[in-house]
Symmetry: none
Subunit: 414 residues, 2 copies
């Protein structure tokens, strides 16, 4: 069975308004084993709404409609649905008295258009709205189940959870469980990830595999359908093992495991500490590391040494090194890592120096050129990188790369 | 003329993913005077995509399609569009060489499926993608203009702004100008902002005024429609003056002026410098300050002193101060500001110490308690704050507040 979500409201079409209902409903339907195939938004416009409703009842079994149940003239949902289904609206006296009580309780005056909300589609089931005055409706007609809900998220969500979810589970759930797991990779582009695991994805339909490329990582989402939780888990685990084998340590985590959480977990486990000397990333590495709750156990201090003077004075980089090789150089990165590790007396230290742009680049040292240093028990490793993008993206990529270098060093020490 | 937006991607239909492209595009189309009548989302599913495209070309003049332009097998947009328009795909050699250069520059291996991105619809105009490898396309066919854009927001936005917007303006704009300006406020809740300017908003229909509340600020969007640019600008300017009078220095900037840009602009103008000593914000203030291009002119250095040892050793906070008043105290904040200002020899210094949570709070010093210090020419000011929210939100609110304290000090010195 497939579902379609229709969201109604002119505010959705003029922009600046994020449609959270559609994301909420899609997620809930997916978890019930119901696949959403179409999402449509239209304004408070009668002919447009009728046309999408007519299309929807032809192609989708379950149709969830949100919005347009208010008391004013531009709330046209019930009228349009009754027209498309060739039925009519009737006044539900139970709702009339509920509306009258609602206004009386709030000592507000009731206006005649409030009674519009007591009109329901003949033969429909009423979904109680505990927060507002607009009831929801469930209409079963031939092959279709049409569910009408108000557009206000704080009304819609409890109505879905308390009534619609139970109704759908009873009617449609064929003991089907849908589970997902997202593997997070770093250091490979989307097309390379695709190519490396194409032998796994191409013969795989359950679980199904989807890619999501972000600025600094490529995610692989594995979604399994099964008769129960255990079978779904084992379907996912099998594919996960194959993908991890194919991609090796490019897979840095799963689901909500960020790079900084993984690094933090290893440092905590081994009771090790870290300090950071940043130049071009301007505090972003430290900010990421300290976004993790409990990071004070391993993160000691960091110095953002933007000026050459700060590199010399705070991190004890020698003026000769900067003069001879430049502030953006492998030698300076190495000296920064040495300096902060000694200063903070930590087990590890990361350093980073580069050109975040958009200005400050030269032909020899272009925007995006970054040197990363890692000081550890047995010395200092440095590496050269070239990143592309805006200042913001270069800072993000450089920070993630530095954390990834630390992560790989730590897992190879295990 | 009416527009339809079609967004493609299975991740949109399974939930947990917010569709920001559709909101961005609707807003941009509205500002061009083009009304969006339908928004549709479908998965990476060939027959479903074909069916919505066929419907769209019947009912909408302008169709903007996002997603499905990647290199992998589930990227089906161009094939589906060419099928619906009964045309075919051809290989564009200019794009081939651009893709090859892209991979060569990044020293990455090109895979055969990357060449899919060089296929274009016969007779289409190519929209250059400066960030990624997928070009966009503009196709004019009979009554329809079909615009294909990648689904990645950081690629889509510059492509829309640089090319599509200009194209649509030239082709469709009918002497109606829609202009918007967003005033950004800090330090007041949405309902207080609303109350303070309700005498302006209630008698105002053109320009119209909308509120947008974020975690750390409340934005006020002023939108005017007029026959030309000058009239629209003067309608906006009149309301802007009234709002600024009502809200005073709570308005910190407009449009893309962030708090850190404003602070940076004042420091640059006056040729002054700043250093930062951070504890609970873990580098976020420094990261924000250095997100501004050109910040190396005024941002000298910062120290993220997470441990007490780092506060004592690096910032010269006396152990007695920490013992007597605690690391989270007005006295420690003051000593941190003094320490970093002397160390960096700057004109100003900010310091911050607090409890970001979720653990580490006590009944006397709860999660969210933060002290901020500002050292300037004539002394050190400290202030106590209590923030609510997750660790992440507390870090954001604390950082914005520190920058706002500096901003207010600077504007009062003027």
């Amino acid at each position: 069975m497939s579902a379609e979500i229709i969201t109604i409201g002119t505010e959705l079409l003029t922009g600046g308004h994020i449609n959270t209902n559609v994301s909420y409903l899609s997620e809930k339907l997916t978890s019930l084993g119901i696949e959403t195939c179409f999402q449509t938004s239209v304004g408070d416009n009668y002919p447009n709404l009728e046309s999408v409703l007519s299309e929807a009842i032809k192609r989708s079994e379950i149709i969830v409609v949100t919005g347009g149940l208010g008391p004013t003239a531009d709330d046209i949902t019930k009228q349009a649905v009754s027209n498309v289904l060739k039925t009519r609206l009737i006044l539900e006296t139970g709702i009339v008295s509920k509306i009258e009580r609602f206004f009386k309780d709030r000592k507000k005056e009731i206006s005649s258009n409030n009674y519009n909300q007591a009109l329901v589609i003949r033969g429909s089931m009423i979904i109680n709205n505990k927060i507002g005055t607009a009831p929801g409706l469930i209409i079963e007609r031939d092959q279709n189940t049409i569910i009408l809900l108000p557009g206000v998220p704080r009304e819609l969500k409890p109505m879905f959870k308390d009534t619609v979810s139970k109704y759908l589970k009873k009617k449609y759930s064929k003991n089907l469980v849908i589970k997902s797991r997202t593997l997070r990779t770093f250091g490979l582009g989307e097309s390379v990830v695709d190519e490396k695991i194409t032998h796994i994805t191409e013969k795989c339909s359950n679980p199904c595999i989807a890619f999501l490329a972000h600025a600094t990582e490529v995610d692989i989402k594995i979604t399994a359908k099964a008769g129960n939780q255990n079978i779904a888990d084992s379907l996912i685990a099998d594919v996960e093992t194959q993908i991890r084998n194919a991609l090796g340590d490019h897979v840095f985590g799963a689901d909500d495991e960020t790079m900084e959480k993984i690094v933090g977990a290893i440092l905590t486990l081994r009771n090790k500490t870290i300090a950071v000397a940043e130049s071009c990333t301007g505090g972003l590495i430290s900010n990421l590391l300290t976004n993790v709750s409990g990071s004070s156990a391993y993160f000691i201090e960091s110095i953002v040494a933007y000026s050459n003077e700060a590199k010399i004075k705070l991190l004890h980089v020698s003026p000769q090194t900067i003069e001879e090789f430049g502030a953006v150089s492998s030698q300076t990165a190495s000296a920064m890592a040495k300096g902060i590790k000694e200063l903070a007396s930590t087990d590890y230290a990361l350093s980073i120096t580069g050109i975040a742009g958009p200005t400050g680049g030269t032909s020899q040292k272009p925007v995006g050129l970054v040197y990363i240093g890692l000081a550890h028990q047995s010395g200092i490793d440095t590496s050269e990188h070239k990143f592309f993008g805006t200042r913001d993206i270069i800072k993000q990529k450089a920070s993630q790369t530095a954390l990834d270098i630390l992560r790989k060093y730590l897992i190879n020490q295990a």
